[in-house]
């Protein structure tokens, strides 16, 4: 009887392992049906900042901007600005500046209101303030990440998917400005490699090129943003493994800084 049970168990184990598919060492991505490949997942700034922390101890406080920018009421500008402000929140968390984090949390709410998604971020804003007060930095970072998702989700629900993309792009621009500023100060090929994001830039370009809302597509800031991304693309997208030079890092820093300043002041 025991022998029979052992035999059955052994057969069952055999069946389970036989059903497991071997993992292919390589796959042909070009043969993947286009509809089965999702859009590129845009990284949150803290994913990049986490690496920078491992490369050294950046002066995060020195990277904070004096002003968060001016809300002009132009929806494209507000969406881009909101992205830069949320990215600023991640920098303030790295700098462990509770006062600045709370100020940014409040500004996120103000900008969200300007594009009708205030309700989506009220809880986040409150939570950012409370957790910054308690200096729970990891939780604050998670709340900023959540705020970004909630804003984009609420915009999509309102049918403003294109505006939601601008929030992501604004965040990427400010994150890249800080990344290049830090890498420039202590250049290393490993630090510069963080800029190797060709597919992400192609994705942003595709989104900006395909804007269905023609008014949005013709907006001065959107045009400027598109030009900036197009100019950065050849500097960071070398698939041949060529290192991203110190000069390229500085050029990207200048371009992103100018674009972020234009977004903040609406002077393209």
């Amino acid at each position: 009887m025991t022998k029979n049970i052992s035999l059955i168990l052994a057969l069952l184990c055999l069946a389970t392992s036989a059903s497991a598919q071997p993992i292919p060492d390589s796959i042909d991505l070009s043969k993947f049906p286009a509809q089965a490949v999702d859009d590129v997942v845009v990284p949150v700034p803290s994913e990049i900042f986490a690496v920078l922390d491992k490369l050294g101890s950046p002066n995060w406080r020195g990277e904070l901007r004096g002003s968060l920018g001016k809300n002009t009421g132009n929806r494209a500008q507000v969406a881009l600005l909101l992205g830069t402000v949320i990215a600023e929140g991640f920098i303030a968390v790295e700098a462990e500046d509770a006062g600045r984090v709370q100020e940014i949390g409040r500004e996120v709410l103000v900008l969200a209101e300007a594009i009708n998604v205030r309700k989506a971020v009220i809880k986040r804003s409150k939570s950012i303030t409370e957790k910054a007060d308690a200096k729970e930095w990891k939780s604050v970072r998670s709340e900023f990440d959540g705020a970004l998702q909630d804003v984009r989700g609420a915009m999509r629900e309102l049918g403003d998917d294109e505006l939601a993309q601008l929030v992501s792009i604004g965040g990427w621009l400010r994150g890249t400005e800080v990344l290049t500023s830090i890498v420039s100060k202590h250049y290393s090929p490993d630090g510069a490699e963080l800029l190797f994001q060709p597919h992400l830039l192609d994705y942003f370009m595709g989104k900006l090129d395909g804007l269905k809302n023609t008014r949005l597509g013709k907006d001065d800031l959107v045009v400027k943003t598109r030009k900036t991304i197009a100019a950065i693309r050849p500097l960071i997208g070398r698939d041949d493994g060529t290192k991203i030079s110190a000069d390229a890092v500085q050029r990207i820093n200048k371009m992103t800084a100018e674009t972020v300043a234009a977004i903040a002041s609406k002077e393209p």
């Binding site: 994913e47 986490a50 994001q197």
Partner: protein, 140 residues
């Protein structure tokens, strides 16, 4: 009347789909929980849908050398076998480890290079025609 009936039918069809993806999402977040204790931060975004048996879906992500990542997959179908594996932009298997545990599947990676990586979600077997899935990832 016919129009109202069609709307009602569409609404009825939409509700289970919503619940379906949400359940898978809850499981994906549950799968990621133990990694928080290891110092990982879980992204608030999630990706998901439903797939037939032997179907695959790719989710492309920008990953950074220097970080560790773990991709956590959940399904709402208890007896379904789903997997997730990570490939680099040239299509080479890039994960350091992958494993399954019931309705959860995982793949871990410390990228050798900064760049685009593909999380390939597959349904190996399932008692139902289409299995709901959701994927989240954590980093440190």
């Amino acid at each position: 009347m016919k129009k109202i009936l069609s709307i009602l039918l569409l609404a009825a069809a939409a509700i289970p789909l919503y619940a379906y993806v949400n359940d898978a999402l809850s499981f994906a977040h549950e799968a990621a929980l133990p990694f928080v204790k290891e110092g990982f931060s879980v992204r608030e975004d999630a990706w998901g849908g439903d797939l037939g048996v032997k179907d695959q879906q790719a989710v492309s992500s920008q990953l950074f050398k220097g970080n560790d990542y773990v991709f956590c997959l959940g399904t709402d179908i208890a007896k379904a076998v789903l997997t997730v594996h990570l490939y680099d932009a040239s299509g080479k298997l890039a994960e350091s480890k992958s494993w399954r545990n019931g309705r959860f599947a995982f793949a871990r990676i410390s990228p050798a290079k900064t760049g685009t990586y593909y999380a390939i979600v597959s349904v190996e077997k399932s008692p139902v025609e289409r299995s709901g899935w959701a994927l989240v990832y954590a980093y440190k």
